[in-house]
Amino acid sequence: MERRDFLKISAVAGATAALEGCGNPDHQLIRFVPEEDLLPGIATWKPSICTLCPAGCGLLVRVMQGEAEVIRNGQLGLLKMGLAKKLEGNPAHPINQGKLCPRGQAGLQVTYHPDRIKAPLARNGPRGSGQFREVSWDDAIKQLVSQLSDLQTVKPAGGLAIVTSPLRGQKKTIVSAFAAAFKNSMPMEFAFFDDGVLRAANGASFGHSLPPTVDLGQSNYVISFGADFLGTWNSPVAQSLAFGHMRKGRPGVRGKFVQFEPRISQTGASADEWIPVQPGAEGILALGLAHVIIAEKLRSASAAGHAGSLIEGWSQGLPDYAPEKIAAQTGVKSETITRIAREAAAHDPAVALIGDAATAQTNGLFNALAVNALNALLGSVGKPGGVTFSPSSNLKESNLSLQALASQINSGAAGVKVLLLYNANPVFGTPAAWGVRAALDKIPFIASFGSFIDDSSALADLILPDHSSLESWLDDAPVSGSAKTVVSVAPPAMNPLHNTRSMPDVLLGVAHQLGGDLARSLPWKTYDEAIQASFTALYKEKGSETAKDADEFWKTAQDQGGWWSSEEVKAVTAGGSSAASPKTAAPQFDGDPSEYRFHFLPFASQLFYDGSLAHLPWMQEAPDPLSTVMWGTWIEINPRTAEKLGVNQGDLVEVASQHGKLQAPALIAPGIAPDVVAMPVGQGHENFTRYASGRGANPISILSPVSVEGTGSLAWAATRVKLSRAGKGKLILFGGSLSEASPELKHR
């Protein structure tokens, strides 16, 4: 929104308008007959579900009557309709109990975004040119059907790839069933911040391949290894609620919170003790703590059970992990290690959690297993104030990784003829080194269900815009954040603004046109039918005590936003698989330390999460909690390092890895290790609406393609980089100063 331009452009527009002598355009628009019966000025609150991150918080949507410009049977006009005015947490929902994070609240702007795709689009001009023409839904679906029916022939020309965000509930059922009906189909779920490592580790240690639910509220001592659990990790709202309770919710009791990480995160900022640790050394540190606890007989090694047995030398009391031995490697003083270990052991229940960068090192799995073992040793698994696992719902891990697929396509090993994209932006979310972009170019037909033209859907041949989450039926089964079993459901909170259709409905429609096994495997006509079916099943299984029949069960679920078990399910550790744990404790880094002198630490932006929210003006203009940066990105550098490099606040800095380089303004802050530079994920979209396109740089693009040993996940914290000053940059800060003591006073 360039002011000056406004002045120029619209002065002209104004002139013409005035000369034509026409009045306010609104007056010329016809008014359609209202479709719903609402009282003006009176708000109604409708339950919904937040779909912006995997936490799956419950929403209440404030709906009021308003007048919107809509298109009805090809004509533009004004329609009095219920409009979502505000998103708040659903107080009844066990995950977020009426609270909501900034991202969740900004979800409102997704629905009303000026650059939302308003109708199905077909590519018009060369791929990636961003030229599309509007088509009718019938034509669009016909096109998709014809493409897919080719794949159903006896000898298909190629496979069907479906790349989606991690799905749950009936959406997942529908997508997998749809994929299953094709000969060689490759459904895969992609998210940059995936929890694959945690799932693997928890599966191995405790037999639950799920992210943990941490009962912080009851805990007296919390040790977090790099997990930004108050900001973006896992189920932040649930964890924030619990954190508040841990701090001040229990009269006379205040738990301690220690954070180990190389760069102070928003979560680390709230820690009682923030202790920098060498990147990738978290596991070693955890075992160091375990060593002290065992050595000082504060707990017996056997207490750790299976989780401990996965760690080499556990039964011998981890001789290699004596504090003084690991002090250098971890960068943490041995006495600190000892002290923390003693405090943790002395303050039952104590709990350790790990996430984010700590699990995104080459040794991420080892780190996670080590922390699991520490938890087990502290006896905090499946106990109040410890980690529990909500009973798993339908979660089928997709076997194939996007990296593998891309390389197969590029090498010609796999022939993918049709790609369906839903809620995933692989072009933005994968390192350039994966070659996803090239792979997409090789795919003859790409259909996207996206609501926006983003870096990936810009390459699509067909765009079938999905409803916004407020306009569509939703169901979800959160896997973390509450010890209760939670199955959320929500009818549409408002009527669609544009000519869009819900993705599952489109798939079901296509399935029925294709017929055959596919149609049989998807018996429902619409998504809500599918959801209702799942709730009928749920009623048979669990619901009988809460409702007299399936219909009532279904009704109440819709009214309160889902169904949740009354009792808290304490999932006990089910032995766990004897997956061979990785032997190597030490992390590997891509790049020769002598040349690439700095660890490159991307981190989830509190406002943009993984970048999927960079198109929301509220998120762009809200100051980042720590840097206070608005409308841009930055590279966080330790003051001493900056001094050595001759870099000042706001200078443009070039960051180069072995796989690419980028430029961003420097932010000089004390909370980061001198040998680490950090950069938020989220900005740097080539193509993502007027608010995010071409803004800042994307750290993911320069990451090395190494993956976490023993899993398919990307080791996104394992890249080394070199820095150089590249001139003056632009850094928009909301905060005037770093510290309360005014710098001017130094002169005294």
């Binding site: 619209s10 002065a11 527009a13 104004g14 008014r31 007959v33 209202p34 003006p40 009176i42």
Partner: protein, 206 residues
Amino acid sequence: MLRSAFRVSHYSRVAIAIGVVVLGLAILERVLPAQGTGSSPSAQSPDVFTTAHRTVSDSVREFFGLREKPVQPIAYTHKVHLGNGMQCTDCHVGVDQGPDARIPSVNFCMTCHQVIATDKPEIKKLAAYRARGEDIPWQRVYGFEPSAHVKFNHAPHIRAGVDCSVCHGDMRQQTVAERKVDHTMGFCLNCHRQKNVSVDCVTCHF
């Protein structure tokens, strides 16, 4: 030279000059979209919403409180409807529950006018709207300028037993609704003072 400055012919020239300037300003005023004056050029572009007026003239008009008389698409007569024993709240639903009174939609009218007085020209208009699937583009009669920042709420006034006619005139006497009462701040304050209810600014302005 100084003397020459006062020759009459000079005056005429001055007069002409002034005339030209005034004219120029007038033209500018028409075409220039005002911004600071409460109106932004962007108001011209249909794809942004702003508090701005569309032209300087708009803002000037509002500044002096000039409002043109609303012209209703259908000559709805309150007189007849109320005469037939209908109540205000029959159509203006919600007035006793919330801030605004509902203006009935074409469907609502047609519930009766399916059968009643279907031959009358105005009712034919009504039916035509319904047939086209359009709602009736009623024009506002009352209502505060946005720049007044008044947040009026009907419900408490109804509950306090203030009769509709106090603020809207006696609709029994009106056919098409007219602005019988001028909703100035003074008008509101008088009543608030008499009934000694709050005259705190934030009671209405927020």
